[in-house]
Symmetry: C2
């Protein structure tokens, strides 16, 4: 018995040959892609619980968001058009201290997961607080994630000191071991907010448990200059000299890299989480993605938190990435649409260490895929499917999302999910945030 059979499908596999199947069938069993038939197939001959007719639709791997802070949905657009340091110190940090607790992480993560399921993301990589709550919400909604607690030298909403953050991570690892959807990583917030000692402890923990180490790196010119001032090394060199660089490292942003930093990334197989829209919105700079790709560095695409984006629709970030690198290199040939789709699927899977399980539609992989209705004015005609995905689509074109063989969103509806309840709670919370002593700017 197959759980799901999708027939009459145009399938963008993202396998190593970039195969595109014009009219195929996908059969899903035990959460995995069990069969791909490259022709029209009469499903009458198979026992299939749920049949999906994909006529006029595209099936592609679900997108992988390699860097976000999901519960920050509660701060969507609450302090825009402000310089980074003021934004962080006057708005974000004080309000996180005041409003980020278990309940609000549940609420913010629920909103984030709903938004991602509705826009075609099937896996996300998160760094935030109260990770157990985020994990419970994510698992309940059927989404795949790599989660970590943000560890930093200072007290956070969930840990009075970084040692507690590491202890929490140890507990999370035990709590979620062998879970099919939730994996745990360890995070160090950044080179400028963690001491050398803390960075080394976090690396040791990553080594001992062979888990990913998620860190913000070389995001701003300020960070680059500050680390140079303190250590006479670039942020990347500094982490290298601490022994942090290796294939478990996920370096979010990676904007301010020298050529020798890029050499280090390539040599140590560091994974990069590229956040084009956040980098543009906060005017942080342009990550050297074409150079990184030409050196074979693993690169995925992330939204960052919605306070600096301001949505979790990864299709939009893919489009912005394509625009950004063409413009900043004064060369429309420097990247192409196929590379962009690769980064958002297989590239992201590689960065998270999930390349054997997700990122492409291949037999034996987890059934994480999305169905896109192509019968819309802005999606016709089609000459090149990669161009259409990158330059014409948004997440709203995703009709149905399947994760681990389960339908988590169908015809734009998330099963067993009440938007009204969520809205009521979010509205109540945002009214309180608006009244916060820290904020005096809102118009709605």
């Amino acid at each position: 018995m197959y759980e799901i059979g999708i027939f009459n499908a145009k399938i963008l596999t993202m396998d190593k040959d970039f195969s595109i199947i014009n009219n195929g069938t996908i059969l899903i069993k035990n959460g995995k892609i069990d069969k791909i038939v490259k022709s029209d197939l009469d499903l009458e001959n198979f026992l299939v619980e749920k049949k999906i007719d994909a006529t006029g639709k595209l099936i592609m791997p679900g997108l992988i968001n390699v860097h976000t802070h999901s519960a920050m949905t509660i701060f969507r657009g609450f302090a825009d058009d402000i310089a980074l340091q003021e934004w962080l110190h006057k708005y974000i940090f004080p309000n996180e201290a005041k409003f980020i607790d278990k309940e609000n992480v549940r609420l913010g993560t629920t909103l984030a997961v709903a938004e991602m399921l509705l826009s075609g993301t099937t896996t996300y990589n998160d760094m935030y607080f109260f990770v157990n709550e985020a994990a419970e919400v994510t698992q309940k909604m059927g989404m795949r994630a790599l989660l970590s607690e943000g560890i930093i030298d200072y007290p956070t909403p969930c840990s009075a000191n970084p040692e507690l953050g590491i202890k929490n991570t140890e507990e999370l690892l035990q709590q979620w071991q062998n879970n099919q959807l939730i994996k745990i990583a360890i995070s160090a917030h950044s080179p400028y907010s963690c001491s050398s000692d803390l960075l080394k402890k976090v690396k040791k923990f990553s080594d001992k448990n062979n888990i990913k180490l998620h860190i913000h790196l070389a995001e701003t010119r300020w960070e680059f200059d500050e680390i140079m001032r303190l250590y006479s090394q670039t942020p990347t060199e500094y982490l290298h000299h601490l022994g942090i660089l290796d294939e478990n490292m996920i370096a979010a942003h990676s904007v301010h890299l020298t050529d020798s930093d890029i050499d280090l990334f390539a040599k140590y197989k560091v994974g990069v989480a590229h956040n084009p829209e956040c980098n543009m919105k906060l005017a942080s700079g342009v990550a050297p993605i074409p150079k990184l790709l030409s050196r074979g560095v693993k690169v995925g695409i992330g939204t960052d938190g919605v306070a600096s984006n301001n949505n979790l629709d990864l299709f939009q970030d893919v489009r912005s990435a394509a625009f950004l690198h063409k413009l900043s290199n004064s060369n429309p040939l420097v990247t192409n649409a196929k590379e962009m789709v690769y980064m958002a699927t297989m590239g992201g899977a590689s960065v998270l260490g999930f390349e054997k399980e997700i990122g492409s539609i291949e037999v034996g992989k987890n059934a994480d895929l999305i169905i896109i209705d192509l019968m819309k004015p802005h999606l016709i005609p089609i000459y090149d499917i990669y161009s259409q995905i990158v330059f014409s689509m948004t997440g709203n074109d995703v009709e149905t999302s399947i994760i681990n063989g389960k339908i988590v969103m169908e015809n734009r509806i998330i099963p067993n999910f009440s938007f009204t309840d969520l809205w009521l709670q979010m509205n109540e919370l945002s009214q309180r945030i608006k009244k916060s002593e820290f904020i005096n700017r809102y118009n709605f």
Copy 2:
């Protein structure tokens, strides 16, 4: 009797005070905004043909797309990731010569108008061929437009020589005079594709008829260098010395401007059509929009044709514009969300010379407005409505569009419009284009 009454509305007026009405009513009569009541109003006391309950919804002016080539929808994504000159000469020009005729302009314009109505654009400014056909389609679908035939030194799909283009424009002016939706402008394609003599003729025609003159200006570095080489003047100075600059001029792109060019724009009240996504995708450069705005120059936002965008969702261009200028000025404060919304509404209206008729929700103006459903995961919570519009929305969030007091799209459906018929015709055409001798790259 009022034609439409919209009640329980949150109204973003974009009037000179940027008034936001929290719970108001808009009454529409004879295609115009007849009354705006700034409180909850019992519509029972009014005779209203169509009542729209806007609870939980935002009403704002329809967006104004100040530069496109709408029938180019037939070439959506057919030749991406290619250098500009190869793109133009190997793909665009030969295929325009082969496929642009009256029938295909009808088809491409129908698709474009459908896409714009579905994404919240209520007025567009177009430069293309077979303008009478485009005008008929646009008027039939109830959309507002400023249309012009692209006039150039060489033969075009509709005019064997530029004189014929001017004659066509004269006929268009007569044909469409006093039409409520369609206005006619004259176009000269660009300083590099029109002789000095032709540019002066076009200007004389614009003067005689007091109509807008739509031109591509200073789009690429190549154009800047070429005009400098030929005339030892910047493209803007060159047009100035020909006497072209005045308040009727709409300068599309305006990327490569010197400070003294900006002085000329300010002095002669030239309007700018900013196309952020096209400029990024073709790596043309960054228009100095913050400088132009600080000098009081009229600026609107355009998509350009979909062959270089690849969709007509102006919300996405607004978002890209915000990102682009923050990044390229290394300053997140250089523009703000309110300015971006202004450019897409009142700014665009001013560029087209329609500032007294459209662009804001004010009594006496034409009823061109859009209704946006705010009850969606990616649009909650709301702190700042301008931030939400610029950074979180896409055109797909538009639920209903009203132009000239008529509902042209309601609940995502365009009345009396068959998408299936359009798809069948577009599919047939795109199959023929794919088989064209000029093209050998497609995968779908």
